[in-house]
């Protein structure tokens, strides 16, 4: 099977969507740039023309709102934010507008827009170029939020997002762009709201999002060498999220660890842990555990970055504690 990088898979999904559907277009900052979006949008403007691949002024609110309007008119826009931090200028069109439309008008108007937000952090960029804000948007009814961690899902979830019919936030992580994986050439969809069990296990359940799902698999491999069999669940979608798969795993393992590379307090990991304590309580044989970022902005200096971000090591350490408890 063909191997592609995560970034190549995103690009291929865009290219196939643009080629296959005249309603699809791309709008956002840096889409004509050779480097802004890594290679994930490389030369799409040359291939599909600058009327359908539109780089924009520095106007996040109106650009996002324009994508919402175009979606209401029946187009299938993908609006791109090269950093999630910048998208905070567009919360009104996303949360107040796109998310409310279907409900406000009892389904008479749909907003099939994809809002792509890249998590782009590390490299001594500092606090304003680092945020992972999935929790803010997963809280909002009317939005869907997906976070692919593999090249396969990166392609399949983008295609599903474009055809979902609802506003879907597609969150990709630059730290995954070089991950390699099998990606079928034809278009295919990955269902929104379905998790993937990346590794079966009986001793504890690790529920992870995006970059942390990759780290969790690495951690699980190490744990296995210590005889700890962790089941790793990659949520893939955080809104809606696959409660049944998670609860079923907890009923099997009795232990839950949630790994999400975002601030701990009020992060999405809290929702998973809280739901487990509500609906799988009897199955829990130990306290739930969260591996998240500390409640601090991202620092800049490399030694501080190393202390701030979480990796397979942190997941493995927390899992050992949990398995022992």
């Amino acid at each position: 099977m063909r191997r592609l990088s995560y970034a190549q898979a995103i690009r291929e999904a865009h290219a196939q969507l643009l080629a296959g559907d005249p309603r699809v277009f791309l709008l956002g900052q840096g889409v004509w740039s050779p480097w802004y979006a890594g290679t994930s949008l490389k030369d799409l403007d040359k291939e599909f023309g600058r009327d359908r691949v539109i780089d924009s002024p520095v106007s996040e609110n109106a650009v996002t709102g324009a994508a919402v309007g175009a979606a209401i008119a029946g187009m299938r826009p993908i609006v791109f934010h090269p950093r999630m931090d910048f998208m905070l200028l567009a919360v009104d069109p996303i949360v107040n507008q796109a998310a409310n439309w279907a409900y406000l008008f009892a389904g008479a108007v749909a907003v099939p827009v994809v809002i792509r937000a890249a998590i782009n952090r590390g490299g001594e960029q500092g606090a304003q170029h680092s945020q992972a804000l999935q929790a803010m948007f997963a809280h909002v009814p009317g939005l869907k939020v997906v976070m692919p961690s593999t090249p396969y899902d990166a392609k399949g979830l983008l295609i599903s997002a474009v055809y979902d019919g609802n506003p879907v936030m597609y969150i990709d992580d630059r730290w995954l762009y070089e991950e390699q994986g099998d990606v079928p050439e034809p278009m295919y969809r990955v269902p929104i709201g379905r998790a993937a069990v990346r590794r079966p296990g009986r001793d504890l359940t690790i529920v992870a999002t995006s970059f942390m799902a990759v780290q969790a698999v690495r951690a699980a491999d190490r744990l296995a060498s210590d005889g700890i069999e962790a089941e790793v669940i990659d949520l893939r979608s955080v809104k809606p999220w696959d409660r049944e798969t998670v609860f079923a795993s907890i009923r099997k393992t009795g232990r839950l660890l949630v790994a999400d590379a975002a601030w701990r307090t009020g992060g999405f990991a809290a929702e998973v842990a809280a739901s487990a304590a509500e609906e799988a309580f009897e199955a829990l044989r130990a306290p739930v555990a969260r591996v998240c970022l500390p409640d601090a902005p991202a620092p800049m200096s490399a030694p501080l970055e190393r202390a701030y971000y979480r990796t397979a090591d942190d997941i493995a350490a927390a899992a050992r504690r949990l398995a022992a408890s």
Partner: protein, 341 residues
Amino acid sequence: MGDHVTTSVVGPAAGAPTTAFLFGCWRDMLRIRMFEERAGELVEAGEIKTPCHLYIGQEAIAVGVCRALRREDYVWGGHRSHGHYLAKGGDLRAMMAELYGKATGCSRGRGGSMHLVAPEVGVYGTVPLVAATIPLAVGTALASRQRGDGRVSVAFLGDGATEEGHFHESMNLAALYRLPVLFIVENNFYASHMHLLERRRADNILAAADAHSVPGAVLDGNDVMAVYEAAARAAARARAGEGPTLLECRTFRWRGHVGPSWDMDVGVKRKDELKDWLPRDPVARLRARLAEAGVEEAAFTAAEAELRAEVEAAVEFARRSPYPDPATLLDHVYTAREAEG
């Protein structure tokens, strides 16, 4: 809606408007006026509880603009959009039912006065977040450019909305991409309790259009033909691919910011201004002009009777209609229909 002159009737190709056309404009304005006055009474009576921002005094703008549009053109509004909805051809009964929060309302009782919809005539949602629909109008215009469907998008906005940054961002995008969009600024000199000059140094909204290379004009917003003619020219430019236009229509709202009262948020200053504006009533002005042109009193009174009956029938319809079933509370948070095909 009986013989309500729908917006699909386009105005006189050129030259002087026919009396029939003018009469239709007058009737459309009066229809809005009567709806609003009745809605105001029903708010005072406590029958309608959803916050209503009445359009009384500004009718010439909605009617003048929408008369220059086609049924399939897009119209976007805000918190004060009863007039936009009606002028574009939205169902009057469905709006009245919406104000009552009934299941037969245009938004099925989910939206109320501040959230109106009539997709069949190009009203894809009016919402009260100030300036929120301006970028959406740019978006429908962008869709039209990409499809080449020849549609025009109209953003109705108030003078207050021009203070939101995304108004400026939107004009820049519209000019940059030469989009078929009309920015209709209804300058009624107030944003709730605040006069224009308490919110900006100068009464110069048009200068913002210039800053973004959007051609524009300042109009008497209480002269329906002045608005119609400017909007028709702007719509023609837009359809010809020549890009956006901003029209500042100067007008005045007669009632309080929200609700029917005449003086709720009226300071002394506003009282004096209102005195000046009442005589410029756009409905009465056109009626007088039509009378001069020979339209007989009977024609007016007949129309008034028809409209009164239409509005009353809508009230009855709304009263008789059922409330939404609480069991439907969680419906439509997401749309089921896939976006394809």
